[in-house]
Symmetry: C2
Subunit: 458 residues, 2 copies
């Protein structure tokens, strides 16, 4: 599939170079706008306007909306005022607002100058809402009906007005801008009697979001309720727009990527991997690396202060990586699970006691199992097979006791920190493996040397 698409991509680029415009026009007219947009990201700057002019008018706008902002900027800078006006007429308001958000100021001015007054006010309205809010991803183009219309009149209205609306399948019943209910086209079409009033078929137990609702929350509602669109109301409960399922899917994908980047100890970025330069990757990655490297000063201090113990029992040093590694892994298991459950809305803040209790029981099971296996492994492999005679039964016991306690501590830290972050209104994903590993590293060393002092008297 992907391979076939890549061949096609290469063919189109070479046809463009050989100026086979008629044949190209034919091929492009058969392609999906999302696929066309992908080709634009492979073109050189001078080829971009060339290929764009070969697209059928309607496809052109759809493909434009899907392009990356670099290609969009090249195109707009090359457009005449008239061409820009035509494009804007074909775009949906939310796509036009996205565009305005990403272009430099002088391009935005040109866009607003060429837009129709309605489009201009729609763009401005959407741009007014905070980034990542429902208002910023909504579109203002939806079908509205009045409660006193009949089903027949409603269908007629949809047939007349629908062409400019992002979705016609869910229509909103409003009066004086107040949202009263919704009807789907399915309900209208399947309603036996065209004379029925809209208010008699509309759904009134509405689920809607506020303009300031976080986009992550909006996406979560889509995946829970399976809606095609969700109405957005302002503080006075007046309907201002709709969010459609495709935008919600994009948000889901973005937010997941952001969570994963945070969990991997990086600053989130909106650029794809291949589009990011090494310098940009460096800037996203170095802050956490520096912070965690410097915080490792503590583990260094702990080891230095137990230097005497390590000198007296040289075998102890060899198990430091295993202890810290297992502690880190145990902690990151818990934190990943809790972070994901929080972001899916499965966990609430008041579930904290249940989470702690569950993690304690899991940690005891894991800790005991690991300690037993480790005890046997150290004796059989390290002592008998590899013949390390510094390892006594007591050293083995110190390692395994420390291991069990480390697992318990790690799992508790891993589960509690993300919930704590949520309490402080931070993104729980920040509290993932790199961060937790650093804390657990220090704690596991302390536990280790404590047992060593207790049992070995070093």
């Amino acid at each position: 599939m992907t391979e076939r698409f890549e061949n096609m991509e290469n063919e189109i680029i070479s046809m463009l170079e050989q100026k086979q415009y008629a044949a190209l026009r034919e091929i492009l007219s058969q392609m999906n706008p999302a696929d066309i947009a992908e080709i634009f990201s492979e073109l050189e700057q001078r080829q971009i306007p060339l290929l764009f002019r070969l697209l059928p008018k309607e496809t052109a706008a759809e493909a434009f909306a899907e392009m990356e902002s670099e290609a969009q900027e090249v195109l707009i800078r090359g457009f005449s005022d008239n061409e820009l006006k035509e494009l804007l007429d074909e775009l949906y308001a939310d796509d036009a607002a996205d565009l305005a958000e990403e272009m430099p100021a002088n391009v935005v001015k040109r866009i607003l100058r060429q837009a129709t007054p309605e489009m201009r006010s729609a763009i401005n309205q959407i741009l007014r809402y905070p980034e990542y809010s429902a208002g910023s991803i909504m579109t203002t183009e939806y079908v509205s009906l009045r409660p006193q219309m009949t089903v027949g009149e409603s269908i007629l209205r949809i047939r007349r007005q629908g062409v400019d609306k992002e979705t016609i399948y869910t229509c909103y019943v409003t009066q004086g801008r107040k949202l009263l209910g919704l009807v789907t086209v399915k309900d209208l079409l399947l309603c036996g009697d065209d004379e029925t009033l809209v208010e008699d078929v509309m759904l009134t137990n509405l689920i809607c979001v506020n303009t300031h609702t976080d986009q992550e929350e909006v996406a979560r509602m889509f995946s829970k309720y399976n809606f095609l669109a969700l109405p957005v109301v302002d503080m006075e409960n007046r309907m201002v727009g709709i969010v459609t399922f495709d935008d919600a899917m994009d948000v889901m994908e973005e937010e997941t990527t952001e969570d994963m980047e945070l969990m991997g100890g990086m600053l989130p970025s909106e650029k794809t991997y291949l589009r990011s330069s090494a310098w940009e990757l460096f800037k996203n990655r170095i802050p956490w690396l520096l912070l965690l490297m410097i915080s490792a000063t503590f583990t260094g201090m702990i080891i230095t202060s137990f230097e005497g113990a390590l000198a007296a029992q040289a075998a102890l040093t060899a198990f430091i990586p295993m202890l810290m590694g297992t502690g880190g892994n145990s902690g990151s298991q818990s934190s990943v699970t809790v972070i994901r459950a929080l972001s899916l809305g499965e966990l609430d803040l008041d579930d904290l006691p249940r989470v702690i209790w569950k993690e304690i029981r899991t940690a005891v099971l894991c800790g005991v199992a690991l300690a037993v296996v480790c005890f046997v492994k150290i004796w059989l492999i390290d002592r008998l097979l590899l013949g390390n005679t510094q390892i006594t039964l007591l050293v083995d016991a110190v390692v395994c006791l420390a291991l069990a306690v480390t697992v318990l501590v790690a799992k508790l830290v891993g589960a509690i920190l993300p919930i704590g972050a949520k309490l402080l209104k931070l993104d729980p994903a920040v509290m993932a493996s790199p961060f937790i590993t650093s804390i657990v590293d220090a704690l596991s060393l302390l536990v280790y040397f404590l047992f060593a002092r207790l049992l070995l008297g070093v």
Copy 2:
């Protein structure tokens, strides 16, 4: 929002206990099926059939489809044959197939016995396809049109047949079961002339999937193309069903959770966190913990074999956790980025050289920056502030050189292993931080002791 919902949940449960059935019926009739389904997971077994009987018939089936399988099983076991038949009539074929997949064999037999012959054959057809394939998540209930129908006839057909179809908004034009094209209800409604033939308005450049296409690939196509539904064809290119966007959203969520669980070093599980017992969590977490603990034998062996060096230069031990930690973090940054790019389809296998080159440049930048800061930090804090006189300029240099090389190695390992896993048809997410940390731990120690031998002669 969530809090309000929880209050409502508690109120409903207490009304149920106080037998206020009439009032309950009223409240439930105003609620969304997905919310109702959530309440069922909070009920005791004996309360489940009680509340279910209070639901309006249509809501009941929708809520049932959203419930967790425990509640579904309790309900079915309590149903009379007639009640089961009524429920099955209201369910969509894909939901009925999901149900059959999760129930124990004797319940499945009862389901198939009570289903209508059409439903039975639809369930059986869906169950025949491999798990996680497009066939297993599709529904067989879609609207099909003939190419020779007029737009007016098509609208009439939709109005007559639509009630049982999962979506009516995308209709498929078939002839002798071969898929020729699609029309949306929007196209039909907005078409000015009712006498136009379907074949003249239908879209023929179709994007469809095969019954055996992996569900992750299907979900990716939804998020790329913004479809409401995607047609599924068999090996002979005959249309057999559709996948709808809501099922694709569920798949996206499931696959992301699975990726995150793998990346956290756990076996993936289909149960939510709070529903999983400590024993189940233990079983998912212990395999990787055991494996990684035992693989740490290598790091132990490396340290043991350099015991002499550590004894001669005691200061070296203190920096082991910092080196391994920074290596692990660097590697997991790269692996998380590459795993996510692979799962979004942004990276292909033949991008490997570009990935390696990008990681090398990023690693050099990160490595140099970290080494410089680390050199200064060790001298200022560890030597001057904390007064550790064992640290000479040469020791400092060994640590920082090892750090820079470790970062480079870690980033390469982190980027290459997930792509390697993909080449071997494994899930790249397996090659995430816990696994990579174990490899990088061993490599960073080797690098460290190599530099120590070279520069300090120990």
